[in-house]
């Protein structure tokens, strides 16, 4: 029986024709901020739902001189972030970093770094469901018409129903935004805490949804406004606790359960931010704080 010849892969895995197709989709997406551009997503060597859209976008824009950072849940050392970083280190041989400020491309799942992004940086979001209207209307044929006609009443009705029922908007992540006053866009499942960071960011923001075959983008300095009502303005989560490791406040925290008696502590979700602060001397005793920290939901942005 013959031995199948060993496969050889192009720089950054994808062949150049595929990259060209994806770059065209990216350019179109940048030209129409917030609009979901269909693209011929490829099967990737990691499963759908595990970042194949982000990986294809990154593979298409990556050059040999880029410095890549990959985070998942804000952390560089979560298993999937490690796996994707190792993939690009292997197939593109690019430099990688954990430092937000040093990266030229940051691929992320579920967070935007606490360190503000700078001009010239590109952040690539992994997106599971790119359609912000999907859970209101499951059909693609319908939602495309709704976008075309700018028919976004349903989203506001949903948010209003939340307020009527719970007294709050009960969407805490993947909180819909309006881009340049036109398209309602899904910011990917980042906590709404991160939404304000998208607004007029000097960085280029690209969104890739592999399984759903969509790419969308926010060029630098784009208006990104979280949907709300005049009498119920958009607010973000605020933690009463500080990071138990670096004492940071006004950052997004992970709650870590430390024992089976209700002991828990809060630490920065952004590991690079936390480490940088600690290396500059911000330390606390690290005593676990007992009892849940309250989030102040009414604090206006």
């Amino acid at each position: 029986m013959r031995n199948p010849s060993l496969p050889a892969y192009n720089f950054a895995y994808l062949d150049e024709q595929t990259k060209r197709m994806i770059r065209r989709a990216i350019l179109k997406a940048i030209a129409i901020p917030g609009y979901q551009v269909p693209f011929a997503s490829r099967e990737m060597p990691m499963p759908y739902g595990w970042g194949t859209g982000g990986v294809q976008v990154t593979a298409s824009i990556l050059g040999p001189d880029d410095v890549l950072k990959v985070i998942d849940q804000g952390a560089d050392d979560t298993t999937n972030a490690v796996s994707i970083r190792a993939f690009f280190a292997k197939v593109a041989n690019v430099a990688t970093t954990t430092r937000t400020a040093d990266a030229t491309i940051i691929q992320t799942r579920h967070r935007i770094p606490e360190t503000p992004l700078a001009h010239g940086q590109i952040i690539v979001y992994q997106v599971p469901i790119p359609e912000p209207l999907r859970f209101l209307e499951p059909r693609e044929t319908e939602t495309r018409v709704m976008h075309a006609l700018e028919e976004y009443g349903l989203v506001h009705v949903k948010l209003y129903e939340d307020i009527a029922q719970h007294g709050h908007i009960a969407t805490t992540y993947a909180y819909p935004v309006k881009v340049e006053g036109r398209y309602v866009m899904d910011p990917s499942p980042i906590p709404k805490f991160d939404n304000p960071k998208m607004h007029r960011s000097p960085a280029l923001q690209l969104f890739g949804a592999g399984r759903e075959k969509r790419i969308y983008a926010l060029p630098p300095f784009t208006d990104v406004v979280s949907l709300d009502f005049e009498d119920h303005p958009f607010t973000v989560q605020r933690f009463e606790a500080r990071c138990a490791l670096c004492n940071a406040q006004e950052v997004y925290l992970d709650e870590v359960i430390t024992d089976d008696r209700g002991g828990r502590m809060f630490v920065c979700s952004d590991t690079d931010y936390c480490e940088t602060r600690r290396s500059k001397g911000s330390q606390v005793g690290g005593l676990p704080q007992h009892g849940a920290a309250k989030a102040d939901w009414e604090a206006a942005e």
């Binding site: 062949d15 759908y48 595990w50 044929t141 719970h166 709650e255």
Partner: protein, 366 residues
């Protein structure tokens, strides 16, 4: 004190090492060879080729071995390899009427030109576990028929077509869409639907096909014909000006014949559902043809009410590589979003407690 659940490179590589060890199993047992898998687990290999959309038994067998027999994982391996392959050209449509037939049955006619041929089938076996499977008993060689040099085996649906009783199978010169190279925009053509179905999950299509039989989009189907065998794959070579055979593949074809009562502009006649699958897979080809027919509801002014008739529903959910990835991604960390939900839940509960404490019954006097 701070026990983070965050992984790392060491954990990943150790996990993969353990997985490789489990895959190999007891070292005193000889390793499976690719030849053994191709020869003795051939229907599993066929399924991996069909849903992996790549006809290569050796690679499929390697994938089955690498995936420890998890066929969806093996399909995924094959797909991820397939996507990197360059496209040289499109083959000419295969001609199944010139198939070298291994099996051919029709449920609509007792005898058909070319005859019925049972071939290698599980049908009519009694499903009793055969004690000889515990060992390696000699198997008697099969009885072989004289194969006519030029076999005439017209498709049953072509016979009906000659009498105008069935909708005509009109050849088209339109360039077919390509599911793997273009994003789907609904509604799609039938050729794109068939592409999605032929690489779709066997279990999902089986359930959908079954649902049409139980009344969810009923089509009153008959198996016009199922045929399994080898067909030549030919490619047009522009420099030569004629088609050249580049190899042969085994396929299963199913032509389902369904009732159609007719409409104002169309006389009553039979309609077609079509299934074509790599390798030997009757179950898949039959399910595919049922779902294909169900999805053609609009062509016959049938009401679309059932899941099997809904092309967006079927096409968006029939791919098991997509489905398994997205279902299984739920095991990735989600603690940032979970934290956001946790905080909201705590706030809502606190407010609910305060509201119940504020009721007049409990309110202390001023």
């Amino acid at each position: 004190m701070y026990v983070a659940v965050k992984g790392g490179e060491a954990a990943i590589s150790n996990a993969h090492r353990l997985m490789a060890d489990r895959r190999r199993g007891d070292r005193n047992v000889p390793a499976l060879s690719v030849e053994q898998i191709v020869n003795q687990l051939s229907l599993g290999v066929d399924r991996v080729m069909a849903e992996g959309s790549l006809y290569d038994p050796e690679l499929a067998a390697m994938a089955v071995r690498q995936a420890r027999g998890d066929l969806i994982e093996a399909i995924f391996l094959l797909r991820a390899y397939r996507t990197t392959l360059p496209r040289f050209s499109n083959a000419c449509p295969i001609n199944t009427s010139r198939m070298r037939i291994e099996r051919r049955v029709s449920a609509t006619f007792k005898d058909i030109p070319g005859g019925q041929l049972l071939g290698p089938t599980f049908d009519y076996t009694h499903r009793l576990i055969d004690p000889s499977m515990a060992g390696d008993e000699a198997v008697t060689p099969p009885v072989k028929r004289e194969r006519p040099t030029e076999e005439s085996c017209p498709r049953v649906t072509d016979l009906l077509d000659g009498q105008g009783l069935i909708e005509a199978d009109v050849p088209s010169n339109d360039k077919p869409g390509d599911l793997t190279r273009e994003a789907i925009a609904y509604p799609v053509g039938r050729e794109v639907r068939l592409q999605a179905l032929t690489r779709g999950d066997e279990g999902f299509l089986l359930a959908l096909g079954y649902s049409t039989q139980r009344g969810y989009g009923r089509t009153h189907p008959f198996v016009g014909e199922i045929r399994i065998g080898m067909v030549d794959v030919e490619v047009d070579v522009p420099e030569l000006g004629f088609a050249v055979c580049i190899g042969a593949i085994r396929v299963t074809e199913c032509q389902m014949v369904s009732q159609f009562k007719g409409s104002a502009d169309k006389p009553p006649r039979f309609t077609r559902g079509y299934g074509l699958v790599f390798g030997q897979s009757e179950r898949k080809a039959m399910a595919m043809s049922l779902v294909d027919r169900a999805m053609r509801a609009d062509e016959f002014n049938e009401q679309r009410l059932a899941p099997a008739q809904d092309e967006e529903f079927v096409l968006e959910h029939c791919d098991n590589v997509q489905a398994t990835g997205f279902v299984e991604h739920l095991k990735l960390p989600h603690y940032v979003d979970f934290q956001a939900e946790l905080e909201l839940l705590r706030t809502l509960r606190r407010e609910a407690e305060m509201a119940s404490a504020d009721t007049p019954m409990n309110e202390p006097a001023e």
